[in-house]
């Protein structure tokens, strides 16, 4: 059998996390694959040992530009366990609010990219139009669009006035109906079904074997969510649901994220209403010797931090495990047997931080080399959607997209 090896990746200037997927193809079908990572390895764990306990949050919020609230929080919770400190209630609520705003902008970013990958560029523009105000809100509330420097060991670094928190409600008034309308249109659109249903299925057994987390696990029927299972911040005080789907396909991963956007909104409204007054910081100076671990439900799943202290100023060991580290290898279980035109979608469906759909080369084993760009891979995906759309004519989703106000 003549096998074609198709390397996808590794580099693109706008990617946060370059990865290289080598797809082994028989014709159009993926028969095997390998993932190479490490292109962006920055030695954060080693670097962390040179920072003081209070400096580390500033380092780890730069592990990922999107999960810049989740990483520091997981670290901080570990250090607070070592020190035996419990932050004041207002700080716990402020942490919850910033973390949920982070989830809203992360999930909206994913919805937009997923739309782009299957050829609905209007969805891309539309989702990002609603994402932008969340970034503005975060800037207004914390001082920065990314790297909020909000949580600190013992509490939060800066209070947010209740009058400013009320602006979150004003944003949700706009976002809620938009997400609901969109989720409804996607839920029974025949073209979306044809592209996403039964594509890249992750079985429950594979999900457990690869130990996937977050929306990837919940879409495959595994009901885990650190916010409920091992509650932190103020999640215990709020009334919300863990979104679980059973089918494990790309469609389920989209549905889980859209439903989670609605849950975020529920949580944010409650948090803004219930936030207590009082201090925002339990002052922590020295960290005693000891070890502890913290985990937080980031938008992509559980992020895990282990910290050990010998009583000095710096951690002697700080282990970080981001959610993509366990979610990305599961492509192997999901992509084999699928076609190249679905590969982009399957890679994107776990929302890796962010996959390399650009700069791709086809290497033919016998007759020399040919180069394809990332745009070609996208084109394959768009052509597939266009074909299916022709069969169905104008759908409810098309009506909705046509009615959307122009983006300025």
């Amino acid at each position: 059998v003549k096998k074609t090896i198709l390397p996808v990746g590794p580099f693109h200037p706008i990617q946060e996390e370059p990865e290289c997927f080598q797809l082994h193809l028989d014709g159009e079908r993926i028969v095997d694959m390998d993932v190479r990572i490490g292109y962006n390895h920055r030695g954060v764990e080693k670097l962390s040992e040179t920072k003081t306990f209070h400096q580390v949050p500033f380092l780890v919020e730069r592990v990922c530009g999107i999960c810049s609230a989740s990483h520091p929080l997981a670290y901080i919770q570990a250090v607070e366990d070592i020190a035996g400190v419990r932050p004041p209630p207002r700080a716990l609520y402020l942490r919850t609010i910033v973390n949920e705003l982070e989830r809203v902008h992360s999930h909206l970013l994913w919805v937009g990219l997923a739309g782009h990958f299957i050829g609905y560029n209007t969805v891309f523009m539309w989702a990002w139009k609603y994402r932008e105000p969340v970034m503005d809100l975060l800037e207004e509330l914390t001082g920065s669009r990314v790297n909020y420097a909000n949580a600190r060991v013992g509490g939060v670094s800066r209070d947010i006035a209740n009058a400013d928190l009320a602006k979150i409600n004003r944003y949700l008034e706009v976002m809620d109906p938009a997400v609901e309308l969109f989720a409804g249109a996607v839920a029974d659109d025949p073209v979306i079904h044809a592209r996403l249903k039964d594509v890249g299925v992750l079985s429950r057994r594979d999900a457990r074997d690869y130990a996937v987390v977050g929306p990837t696990a919940r879409a495959a029927g595994i009901p885990i969510d650190v916010r409920r299972d091992d509650p932190y911040a103020a999640y215990d005080d709020l009334d919300w649901d863990v979104c679980v789907e059973e089918s494990g396909d790309v469609f389920a991963m989209a549905v889980v994220r859209l439903r989670e956007l609605m849950e975020c909104s529920k949580m944010l409204r409650q948090a803004v209403r219930k936030i207590p007054g009082g201090p925002i910081d339990a002052v922590v100076r020295a960290i005693p010797p000891g070890e502890a671990l913290g985990h937080v439900e980031a938008p992509r799943g559980e992020t895990f931090h282990y910290v050990r202290s010998d009583g000095g100023a710096n951690p002697v060991r700080h282990k970080i495990r981001a959610p993509s580290y366990v979610n990305v290898p599961s492509f192997r279980a999901r992509a084999i047997g699928e076609t190249i035109s679905d590969a982009v979608l399957i890679i994107a469906s776990v929302d890796p931080c962010y996959s390399c759909t650009e700069r791709l080369a086809v290497v033919r084993s016998a007759d020399g080399q040919a180069e394809l760009s990332g745009e070609d891979l996208l084109r394959l995906s768009h052509e597939r959607t266009a074909e299916i759309r022709k069969q169905y004519g104008r759908t409810k989703l098309d009506e909705l997209l046509a009615k959307m106000p122009p983006v300025v």
Binding site: I37, D81, D209, D230, A292, F304, V316, R317, R321, P329
Partner: protein
């Protein structure tokens, strides 16, 4: 029965000591040559989810910490074991679960621990031109 009793019952003499510093954190000490039995007990016997493996060099040994989450209990259970600093070696748990494949490769390049029975010991994170035998998470490697 609470979780730490269930672990005690499942692992029997493999668990040398069980320590529970917080209600939702349990540490189980095991001998390095019993690691596969211990992991099998938590993963297959008690249905835990493998979170990750932490490797670290302490003053006298290389410590390996296998973190497992019991999600329905909201508890993290860590298996702790030690291997010698000069020739660190331990049985691989990758034959039991695909989720250990990457992290064992990572601990191998970062700390020089060999995992017996791992199917693919290629580098994971360090670049191809990084010198052999230099492990960045060892204490003697200074930034």
């Amino acid at each position: 029965m609470n979780l730490s009793d269930r672990i005690k019952q499942q692992l029997g003499p493999v668990a040398l000591e069980i320590d529970q510093p917080l209600a939702n954190r349990i540490y189980v000490y095991v001998n390095a040559d019993q690691i596969v039995a211990a992991v099998r007990g938590l993963y297959e016997g008690l249905g835990a989810r493998f979170q990750i493996l932490t490797g670290l060099e302490s003053r006298s040994a290389i410590e390996l910490l296998y973190h497992f989450s019991f999600d329905s209990e909201g508890t993290v259970v860590t298996l702790k074991t030690k291997v010698c600093t000069a020739f660190p070696e331990i049985e691989s748990i990758s034959p039991l679960m695909a989720s250990a494949l990457w992290i064992e490769r990572e601990v191998h390049e970062m700390l020089g621990v060999s995992f017996r029975g791992h199917p693919d010991m290629r580098r994971l994170l360090m670049s191809d031109d990084w010198p052999e035998g230099i492990h960045p998470l060892r204490r003697k490697y200074q930034l």
